[in-house]
Symmetry: C2
Subunit: 525 residues, 2 copies
């Protein structure tokens, strides 16, 4: 470590509390806090975590929706060398037990509202021990009398001593982990360092024009890098992050108007809902700088005509703290994903790690500060993904003659439902746990609203279990084991899966059952 | 070192050669080269430097004016762990000998045009050995037949093997050193790492809107950070750097028109000259985005109305790779220097290192990647400047109530002539080397064109030498020993220097001899 040159996420908040003492850092329902308050509250939380025994590299699991306390927990971890893991709150109790096993958290911060039941079920079934803190005890306790005895986040924070913990923290050490991908049917927590988060924050600020005047509506889930990249940029530049518990079009409108939000994260369907519900202009959304749409939409907001606003795509993955390439850095390029962000290295290689010629497809590999420090507790996978000193993305890409990059397809195909990646292997492994299923293959079929829907192609098991199983039963089986959005919307029964050599021939399945619309262009995050 | 996450200046050029193969990297007189050519030429130069025995941390001294070869040498050093030192070419032979002694270069790259005489004189008098390469042998040889036997830069470069040298280079290691300040009458070479250069490049790109479409006219001296900060940003973003040997208003106009330069570095007097010589519009300068001026100027160029364009100042120093604070990051702030750049830490402290309250003056201290790795060969000074893990700037500042920062004054007062800092101690030590001088003090008096002129206040030595010395003689004495712009324009003789305790009372001298106009606001670089 090098105190003169090192910079951590904690340092950034320390500086803002000196240089931007009047700026609002976080807004969340009734809560509103300045940067000095963020610094002071995270000092207390950091000291409380130390007192609770949190050690360097220990994890704090966030089982809740979007909240200012998620950012506080991140900054407190940053100040003492802890690692925040914000989990997908839409997961089933089964999935949450797997997450708990995998993360082995020292502290769990959980939420009773909306998701209390699966969280409590998972907690009961999990074999490990942790300090459990209920973050919404104050706002939600009356609705859940059974949480009256739970230790509350706010009480825990207040128990911490004031003043900077003064710990030396290595900026190359991880500060956050996000779950991603499911190669082999199992999600992995990608560890990201202070260096990665801060380098990407500055790059995103540059590309998306994020400044201290940015008021960013965190309107996507904060366990997902697509939302979080800009959260980091707004935090890094000393802007304001406005939280909303989950995506609700009317609440988003209310927040944009009330907080004069000038930036946000909106998926297409959400924008359509906003357009519909605000067609009478009941909400003033004129502060919002965002992508252009039809005339009614453009009249409602400020059309972002910057390179990013007109070309808001690129290629990236959670393991790269978000984007690796931006169309905004290669406008006019022939590649579909633009050019690398400043200060990352990208190559297109064959299985032996040699560069493939321009125009030919290979695996995208990358280096630079934004790259993950590896998956939490996956030494073998990490060795494989970092072979030769380059991060292997498991994505196929192509270098065009003008040097720009086209994302081609995941080496492992992904089904896309709204912003969510659904990994066929994960749903398939869930289906084959059913006694009536011998084999299963997942394809995505185009959906006008959510990009794709999941379709399962199933070979029945031999015997009475296989004969009896129904479409309804398999869908219910999946819903009970994995997040609801991953369940098949349709099941097709076949005698055998088509194969090319050992591998299932997904193209043949697509042809037969209407598959298509895979995320083949732009970002795979 | 960490190959997956480390990024060097060499890596940035490697990536541009893949991602921006058609972009022009460098333009210099008849030379024009793309990024792949920059990558290929610096591979050869790097290999030639290795073959010549350049080791890690060894220095390459640039004794020339602005040239694409200066950037090539920087990138070649970056690829093999060398350190480029671009020296002020306006120095006298005496000063150049001091630089040679101090840098102890393994390789010197020198120029015959305009500055060949003092360089050759210094070379003759210097006691050390180095490999001397004449960079302008091709373009200037006919004018200097005495250089016919000199080893030429181009021949040396061509002697290097093609292909990447493939050396692992630590991004925390220095890659460039710039001379600055003269505390105790002696300039010091501030070492700057890859990390520092790249972090500042990204920050400058963000603040000044530098992109791959930037065509930057390097119209200030490249041994000075004020010019070089933006050179780094344009190089980092994959833009084009256009060189000009030295500042000549008509040549700048010609280059802006010919290369469609859209960015440049212009001091006020140069802008005034351009305005005058182009009042008939003979040059088309409409590509240039720059600060606004009077109506005639604004009609000639594109007025930059960005935060930077309207508030193009801040506080910084060479030891921070340029700016530490930007007015563009604190528009509307009460402090005169704005707010810190992203990812640096700034505090205002008393002599014991404790924070002083807002509104009170203290020394500006800073941390972050942009900070120097220390002065070349100055272990004691480095220990003093980095005490407590913070870089002590030797500048006084004040934190305002809104968190913004005001630069107050150098702890050591500086006289400013155009972009150049003149350190009184250096000129004073030159004067006292004259046998007729007992004591001397330097003040700056306001100058309508160049900010300040140097005035010397001198106490004659006792005896005939002191009695005989004249103003003309002392000015000529300075011109023979230090750069011409540092010489006094006037000498006042006094019986004794006024003092406060042990220290010369410069305020009293200012009052008596018309001193004032010191750089008290904005940048001290």
């Amino acid at each position: 470590m090098d105190p003169l040159h090192d910079l951590t996420l904690g340092d950034v908040v320390r500086e803002h509390s000196r240089s931007r003492p009047l700026r609002t850092a976080l807004v969340c329902a009734a809560y509103r806090g300045t940067y000095p308050e963020l610094n002071a509250r995270t000092d207390r939380l950091a000291n409380a975590l130390l007192a609770a025994g949190l050690g360097e590299g220990d994890t704090v699991l966030w089982l809740g929706q979007n909240c200012h306390r998620l950012v506080e927990t991140l900054v407190a971890c940053a100040k003492v060398g802890g690692v925040l893991v914000p989990a997908n709150w839409r997961q089933s109790a089964d999935e949450l037990v797997t997450v708990l096993d995998d993360v082995a958290p020292a502290v769990v911060i959980w939420q009773s509202e909306e998701i209390g039941a699966p969280v409590q079920e998972a907690r009961g079934r999990w074999g490990g021990t942790a300090r459990w803190l209920l973050h919404d005890a104050d706002t939600h306790a009356e609705a859940h009398t059974d949480t009256a005895d739970e230790e509350a986040y706010e009480a825990f924070l207040s128990s911490g001593a004031p003043g900077d913990p003064g710990r030396a923290v290595d900026p190359a050490a991880p500060v956050i982990a996000l779950f991603t991908a499911a190669f082999g049917g199992r999600p992995n927590g990608a560890l990201l360092s202070h260096d990665a988060v801060l380098s990407q924050a500055l790059t995103v600020a540059l590309v998306q024009n994020i400044t201290e005047d940015t008021v960013y509506l965190n309107s996507g889930p904060m366990f997902h890098m697509a939302t979080l990249m800009t959260t980091f940029a707004a935090l890094g530049m000393g802007g304001t992050n406005v939280m909303t518990r989950r995506v609700d079009a009317e609440e988003l409108c209310r927040l944009v108007e009330a907080e004069r939000c000038n930036y946000g994260f909106f998926m297409g369907p959400t924008s359509a809902e906003i357009l519909e519900l605000n067609k009478d202009g009941r909400y003033d959304l004129s502060s919002l700088r965002t992508f252009g749409g039809n005339a009614a939409w453009n009249a409602m907001i400020q059309v972002d005509d910057s390179p990013w606003g007109t070309h808001p795509a690129g290629y990236g993955q959670t393991e790269a703290t978000g984007m690796l390439t931006f169309n905004a850095l290669g406008i006019g390029a022939t590649g579909t994903s633009g050019r690398p962000s400043p200060w990352v290295q990208v190559r297109i290689v064959d299985p032996e790690g040699n560069d493939v010629p321009a125009g030919e497809t290979g695996e995208i590999v990358a280096r630079g500060r934004v790259l993950t420090s590896g998956y939490h507790m996956r030494p073998e996978l990490n060795a494989e993904r970092t072979r030769g000193g380059w991060w292997h993305t498991s994505d196929l890409g192509r270098r065009e003659a003008d040097g720009s990059i086209s994302f081609v397809a995941p080496l492992t195909r992904i089904v896309k439902s709204a912003a969510e990646n659904i990994y066929p292997a994960e749903v398939e492994s869930c289906l084959t746990r059913h006694r009536g299923v011998k084999e299963a293959a997942i394809i995505g079929v185009p959906d006008p609203k959510w990009t794709q829907r999941v379709v399962a192609v199933v070979v029945r098991a031999e015997g009475p279990d296989g004969e009896a199983v129904t479409e309804e039963e398999l869908i219910a089986h999946c819903r009970s084991l994995i997040a609801s959005y991953k369940k098949p919307s349709r099941v097709e029964f076949v005698d055998a899966l088509p194969r090319q050599g050992w591998a299932v021939d997904y193209d043949a399945l697509d042809q037969r059952f209407g598959g298509g619309g895979y995320p083949g262009i732009g970002s795979s995050i």
